[in-house]
Subunit: 508 residues, 3 copies
């Protein structure tokens, strides 16, 4: 499997080799991490191309600390590692307790694990981290870390004391990556994804560029309601931080292995993976059997053999690629959150076929390859059937717009705020409205392609029957189609009648 | 209770006697099982009456293996019982691990259970199965089963080796029934249900005829989108297989006793039992207390005494009938998934009254009989109140159709594909659409009777207050009624105005 | 913290002092309880001001036993404490088993708890209760309670026998309060809340006046469908009974500490706290880590230190006030379930500012005060942004109504039944409809202010990003706004055209 692994990675930038090397036990050199970190910041868009149009509000310093965070000026002075804990135990006890019970707060607990313990693998991980820190001069050769305390993440690994009002920082991906180098490299490797026909820009869709996707969304930058807009950031910050999956201050690996960990972002109208998983038989087995009996402390590679898993979880399928499990979750992405003709028309391209083959191998862990392929074929075709309904509706909406027949279009359709531009059935219709922009059919069509079609395909690929037949998906797509057809006919009948009355008036 | 039991069953065909006999310890003879199996296949509709109109797609061989399954031709050769396991442990490890940890993979574990173990009842069940298999010549008298391995279900019980490309089969109900005779007989007995005023055909609604219901649904057969249509099969296959509730390859009884086991099929727009249960106080107690503390390994009859249940689960109520628990889940069905005048007008008929009495006895396990009856009366009346709203809307929609006033009806309403036929507010409106068929009011009315009214009644009977007041049910029914009234008025106003303009034109 | 506590409570009636006193170990005198009970009944509205317009149906005796409950006449005779249990063990075994396993059925179990047991605090609670009962003459000084049996709650504490057909009662808050005096006093203290600008009447919104809110709702009293209307009672009965949170017959404190306990009432279209919590990171930590690992038997004050909580639950935040945890859950209420200009325009008032400060202190248990305040500011502003959309829609709907342009308004808009009165976009539109009342825009606007705006604000304050950006909240508000704008334009275009045709007709 090594050769395939290497082949797939052939186009990946140098830093990925770190991950590969680390996985074979060779330690990454200091230069590798520095290069990875440098690239991380170089790739980061900051406020992005529309940055002149909006100002960050106070809460956004927590979603993008790289650009917006400054320490509070309410606490002055230099505090030691021990003082951090002592003072915050009184001030903010919840996070201190969470940390104390975590691996970070119990490194000796990790070192003393019994080989039979499902967390035993963390012992070797800790030794790799310590060797890496020694290579960077943070530790002496052979020196052990005492703990990972507040100051190590919020100041710098190994610091003794910190000027609270000047040196305090909110940890970003690179801060975690100082110790968790391999995971950082894996997660960053999501950026290497390129699409064969340019369906998405490089790296999209992935966690590694989700902040970029956020700030480069025109309506997000355009919205005057910054307090609503920042709600998007609350998921689109994985590019900035690691605590979206490993919630502070436990930073638990087991937590991120459980399906609920994905739920905050992967639910709802525009990508309801959570609901689909939980209503699929996979989710049912998790709910009935897994939640109480599976061991989520075992690493994913041992989930079925040692962890007792009898069904997959979110990350089991999505972190897996050709038998390996990494923090790159997009190596098998095909429909990419948005079924479009540009994807549907190219599914025979090797890029798509090879990823489908990889999925067949994933599913074959528990299903016959024939079943897996039959299902994936079914899901592809079912997705295309939904796409056809949406595309037919799109034509109707476009025609109304082109003919100037949208309700209120002639005299009551203001342009959306910059950098948005008017268009029928556009994405902005979901987040901005004024007078008759959007009109009803604009909005319905936007719901169709951004919500119903996506739910349809997500229901199919997650094997939730109600998710693509009637509760969500197909039946909802038809409802929107019906609404658009009905509105179209009535708009045109009204237009015709108005013209007849005009004719009568002119003939008086 | 014996005499009542016998009385209720008086109309049930001979095979049910097997179940009754088995429950008193008498072994079913070989002839009984053969008769039961013969009837099972004789009853099975195969492709059904619309079978000429559609061809099965590849995935459907798994939903209805009886008619569509053929072994893969990629694997040639004859393999032994042991080879199945060895090879699949490498090829498809997930299912092998699940099986190994299951009762099927650990028959000795069952035999050695401590009498205090909540699964101890399985020991006697295993002995009954072995005696039954001995009576069929599969085992020698007194011989024990070593295991229930791949080959026993996918070939035949007791086979030594199997020609993979010719003999491999996907197990159907009868395959499970070879060993689980009583459960098979109980499940099949759902077919015996007949309605006093012909509200449903015999056996409907039940798991035992759900495939028949599927293939005899006109729009299902009519839909050109077979990949979407097969989504219906994903629930409507209980007639074919047993793994809808006891998911392969654990085939756990405990799993099927947990509410989530029902969720994949019993959720969503057309019958949201899952949501209603979980939001009722029954579900809340399950979620807060039951999930971690109740023992789902105990048989249902001991759930409250030995299992610690302090609230009912889905199957506890629905498998129960007059104090007995069986795999026939429809013996207390009254409103049958679809409140109609044909049911509402006959609730005083003894058939309905007796079933209500049975419900009162069910609820009386934890509630006073007075409370139970008061609630069931409330739920009946509340359901009828919802029905009245739907029926009033139906008249409006029918009148528009009869008068040719539906939007687009005169020139843009194509007939649905065969075997469907056009009608106002029809079921097909939920799954097929083209041009102005359905019109908006068709679709809204279809949503009303197929979704909102059913959710209203399900909310009432599952005691979820939001399920029949505002979140689902009543308030949604009123919203649809409001939409239909609004559309009706505007359509008629437009029609009147158009006629006035025509008049003016004719008077020029 | 004592002085602040006292200051906040300065306006609270005498009975609250009982709670305060009890919490410092001083026993409440008999007179205090009698006064508290007397006030409880004096405050209770019974059938309320619209009582002449409706008659209770049978099931309502269970929702409001104070006014409607009478013992069943099917059971005659006097039964002893022991006979209650013996007979009901056969008749209604479920509730007897639940009780037997509860604290009520195992007082010795409480007395013998190990000091390390998380329930150990109940031992002192039991001693307080016994001392209180002794002060009331129910027990001898130093006498212990043997049990809390059926008869103690359904007859009176310490009764030996009960006339079933005359003396049986359904326990109300006061019945529980005989023993649980402090909790009763705390819960009743919710009534003391007054709003600085009269946004709500005294005590609203709170559990302590929820039955009053119910019967004083005009459309509730007006609805002819009493079986649907009583569904509102199923949540709005906390004023009457305690088993809404501590479900009978376990009456578990641990149950009420778990988030699911709140779900039956706090879900759905009009206040979806449950969904928002579960999809927030708070809920995710509960689901992944808390459900299996936290100890819900510890009292809330020890949740993080001894119970292992790493995130808050519903009651942890809402029962907390300035570091104390009580049964008064509304001491930090600010937006009060319904964002209106009357609240939005007064947020700088000290009443609102002080409550916000209290929230900052709550959140500071796990977050920095700066983060907490930044978030609360964001949520306030985001709520106001949603309110602005709703208010703009309201003006459009009001104008249509004032101009008589609502669809069907001139000849097909019947008045709602008394005591309701017609108004545009009114609350009654959600529960009553006839002909063109409500019209579509009425209903849409009612959905906006009663559902979408509330979900928007609940999503913000519970930190569920999808709950106030796209799945619920903002995007839905814009959809309703789009619908209203579209309908408004078309109604006015139709009206203009009709006038032109009238003109043409008059000119013939």
């Amino acid at each position: 499997m090594k050769s395939k692994h290497e082949k797939v990675l052939s186009c990946v930038a140098a830093f990925l080799l770190i991950a590969s090397a680390a996985s074979t036990g060779v330690l990454a050199a200091q230069a590798d991490f520095d290069q990875l970190r440098e690239k991380y910041y170089a790739d980061h868009p900051g406020k992005g191309k529309f940055g002149d149009l909006w100002e960050p509000i106070a809460i956004q310093k927590y979603w993008n600390p790289i650009d917006f965070y400054t320490p509070p000026d309410t606490i002055q002075g230099k505090f030691t590692r021990r003082q951090c804990v002592d003072c915050h135990l009184g001030m903010t006890p919840g996070w201190v307790h969470a940390w104390r019970d975590s691996a970070h707060g119990n490194l000796d607990g990790i070192r003393n694990l019994d080989p039979e313990d499902s967390r035993f693998y963390k012992k070797a991980e800790l030794e790799r981290i310590e060797a890496h820190l020694a290579s960077r001069g943070v530790l002496q050769a052979g020196e052990q870390l005492d703990e990972v305390g507040c100051i190590d993440c919020h100041g710098g690994v190994g610091m003794d004391a910190l000027e609270h009002h000047t040196e305090l920082r909110m940890p970003d991906r690179a801060a975690c990556g100082v110790c968790h180098l391999q995971q950082f490299a894996e997660a960053e490797s999501e950026k290497e994804q390129t699409w064969p026909q340019g369906q998405w820009p490089q790296g999209h869709p992935s966690h590694a560029v989700d902040w970029k996707a956020n700030v480069h969304t025109a309506v997000w930058a355009a919205m005057p309601q910054r307090e609503v807009a920042q709600g998007c950031d609350m998921c689109h910050y994985q590019q900035n931080k690691c605590d979206g999956c490993h919630t502070r201050h436990s930073f638990s690996a087991a937590e991120a292995r459980m399906p609920e960990a994905c739920a905050t972002c992967h639910n709802g109208v525009d990508h309801n993976e959570w609901e689909n998983y939980m209503l699929s038989k996979h989710g049912v087995i998790y709910a009935t059997t897994g939640k109480m009996n599976w061991d989520f402390e075992v690493p994913l590679k041992d989930a079925m053999t040692k962890g007792g898993y009898t069904a997959p979880t979110c990350v089991w399928c999505h972190a897996e690629f050709e038998g390996e499990f990494t923090h790159n979750l997009v190596r098998k992405v095909r429909w990419g959150f948005n079924p479009t003709p540009a994807i549907a028309d190219n599914l025979r391209h090797p890029w798509f076929e090879e990823r489908k083959d990889s999925w067949v191998r994933t599913c074959s862990n528990c299903h016959s390859a024939r079943f897996a392929r039959d299902w994936l074929d079914t899901a592809d075709k079912g997705t295309i059937q939904g796409l056809e309904v949406e595309q037919e509706a799109k034509k109707i909406v476009q025609a109304l717009y082109d003919e100037g027949l949208m309700v209120g279009q002639k005299d009551n359709r203001p342009a959306p705020p910059a950098p948005e531009a008017d268009a029928p059935g556009a994405f902005f219709a979901l987040f901005w409205a004024k007078d008759n922009n959007p009109s009803l059919v604009d909005r319905i069509h936007a719901d169709m392609w951004e919500h119903d079609l996506i739910k349809h395909y997500k229901g199919l690929f997650h094997m939730n029957p109600g998710g693509f037949t009637y509760t969500e998906g197909w039946s909802e797509l038809l409802k929107r189609y019906t609404e658009i057809q009905n509105e179209n006919t009535r708009i045109r009948e009204m237009d015709a009648l108005r013209k007849e009355v005009e004719m009568l008036k002119s003939q008086r």
